[in-house]
């Protein structure tokens, strides 16, 4: 089986899908494929997005979508065959403050019971890894990040909470994410960040994008309440 599959999802849109497992390494390859395609078809592509193991390209012209698919397939295959020659992309790490106080963490006690681990242990394990942002979606600015420590693996709630507060930091399976706006959600909320994930008035509206590295650090409730976004690094 080929390691890459290219298919249309719309008359003007096609997706390059790597038939590989989710990992930071796969994501690096995906980014390289995206760069190669954007470089060659700069004028013909209006938008492109990344998600875990796939890159999607929005084209100006709906003519010859099949032709684009063939050419994207060739470029992707070339990148896959040349992996050893390329240096790893260097990424800056974005540090995000989180208050794990129980008043901001409606699901921390239940998670502690289900995982049979103390709250402190859960907090420690959540802050431990450096996370990779694999995609932004669900609602504007919501980052899907992995991988959460296997000891925190909890399935999504069977019934989603009708209202999750903005800034809520949550876990589900081996993923962690942050709710930018108030919305219904099925992930387990274990803390809250004062950082604004999405602000339509900012020049760059979204704090994170696919490919970024994220580290969480703990702040107190008092620090949360006195948080000033401009102090943020």
């Amino acid at each position: 089986m080929s390691l890459v599959r290219v298919y249309p999802i719309h008359e003007k849109v096609c997706t390059v899908q790597l038939e590989k497992l989710i990992s930071p390494d796969t994501f690096q390859v995906l980014e390289r494929i995206q760069q190669a395609i954007l470089k060659k078809f700069e004028k013909e592509i209006t938008e492109s997005t990344l998600s875990y193991t796939s890159a999607t390209f929005f084209l100006q012209n709906e003519k010859n979508l099949d032709e684009y698919c063939i050419q994207f397939q060739q470029l992707a295959t070339a990148v896959l065959n040349n992996q050893r020659l390329v240096k790893k992309n260097e990424r800056t790490t974005i540090r995000i403050p989180v208050c794990y106080d129980i008043s901001f963490a409606p699901d921390l006690v239940a998670a502690s019971d289900k995982l049979m681990r103390s709250k402190e242990e859960i907090i420690k394990l959540h802050m431990l890894p450096k996370y990779q942002v694999y995609t932004i979606g669900f609602v504007p600015g919501f980052p899907y990040m992995g991988e959460v420590d296997a000891r925190l693996n909890l399935p999504r709630k069977t019934t989603p909470a009708t209202r999750v507060a903005p800034g809520s930091v949550a876990i589900a399976g081996l993923q962690t994410g942050i709710y930018p706006v108030e919305v219904a959600g099925g992930w387990h909320v274990i803390g809250r960040t004062p950082s604004k994930l999405f602000d339509k008035h900012r020049e760059k509206p979204c704090l994170l994008e696919a490919g970024d590295q994220v580290e969480f650090y703990q702040i107190t409730k008092e620090e949360f309440e006195n948080w000033n976004e401009s102090d943020c690094t």
Partner: protein, 291 residues
């Protein structure tokens, strides 16, 4: 110089041609559900396609015009009364200052487009005025229109009284029947479904579920079972794709659909048939035809 909202109707939003360039931040295009009808209302007003207009859902809205304006109504789902006199769709009309425009029930269709010559005066957010309700973006503070809103429109220096007298038709079957055929091609995960399931999808008379909205249309019928319990890694989705939930319920992604999804994508609807869907109201019967 405003349009005053006395009643907003079921759901009325400001839209334009849609928001491009922000999908990587999880922001979909939004824009009108029925592109053809929306463009036509703009054309009838001599507007650019990207000027703001109003999309209304079914009936109930009551608007007042503070100032004389040229407007056009297209689409369906309501009958319009201008000062208690029927106002035909699909042609432009001069509306005198102080007029009341009321939307009453109609038998067919679902969405009306109201354009005003010069366009409504709405600030852009992320390059567009299109309302994206789930993200609280665009339109009037990211929300649907409500009673008491005064929506300014841009008056041309001189009203073009001599508006085009043409009357046009859209040929959208959902505007005159409640049984609609939707054409599709195989979706990326079509082969994940057995031949039996594919046939079930093709031969079921699906009903549009009452919970359908600008995000997605839910279909009521026999549940589709996935023979292989495979998991899809979340990937890009677009309006027009049909996803099937683990419970076997197909739903069609529409204008406000999120940018990524994790359910298998059974089918991809022919883009122009999204206009048909936009005019299908809950209870309409759909059958799917493979092309």
């Amino acid at each position: 110089m405003s349009l005053i909202v006395h009643k907003p109707g079921l759901q009325s939003t400001i839209q334009d041609a849609g928001r491009e360039g922000f999908r990587k931040y999880g922001v979909p295009a939004a824009g009108p559900m029925d592109f053809a009808a929306a463009q036509l209302s703009q054309t009838l007003c001599n507007n650019y396609h990207n000027q703001p207009f109003i999309e209304l859902t079914l009936h109930g809205a009551i608007f007042e015009f503070e100032k004389t304006a040229v407007i056009a109504l297209t689409g369906g789902g309501a009958t319009a009364l201008l000062n208690d006199t029927p106002l035909p769709y699909f042609r432009s009309a001069v509306i005198k200052a102080g007029s009341i425009l009321k939307f009453c029930p109609a038998q067919f269709g679902c969405r009306t487009y109201l354009s005003v010559q010069g366009g409504f005066n709405i600030p852009q957010e992320l390059g567009s005025t299109a309302t994206y309700l789930p993200g609280k973006l665009g339109g009037i503070m990211g929300r649907a229109i409500k009673a008491g809103d005064r929506i300014e429109f841009n008056l041309k220096k001189q009203i073009e009284e001599k508006v085009s007298d043409m009357e046009v038709e859209l040929g959208n079957p959902a505007l005159f029947t409640n049984q609609v055929t939707i054409r599709f091609t195989e979706g990326p995960e079509w082969s994940w479904f057995s031949a039996e399931e594919q046939n079930l999808f093709l031969h079921t008379k699906w009903m549009v579920h009452p919970q359908s909205n600008r995000v997605a249309y839910l279909l009521e019928g026999d549940a589709l079972a996935l023979t292989q319990k495979r998991e899809l890694i979340s990937t890009a989705v677009m309006p027009g794709l049909i996803q099937v939930t683990p419970a076997g319920i197909p739903y069609i992604l529409m204008a406000d659909a999120q940018t990524i999804g994790g359910y298998p994508r059974l089918a991809r609807i022919k883009s122009e048939d999204r206009n048909r869907l936009a005019q299908c109201r809950p209870g309409y019967q759909l059958n799917f035809q493979k092309i």
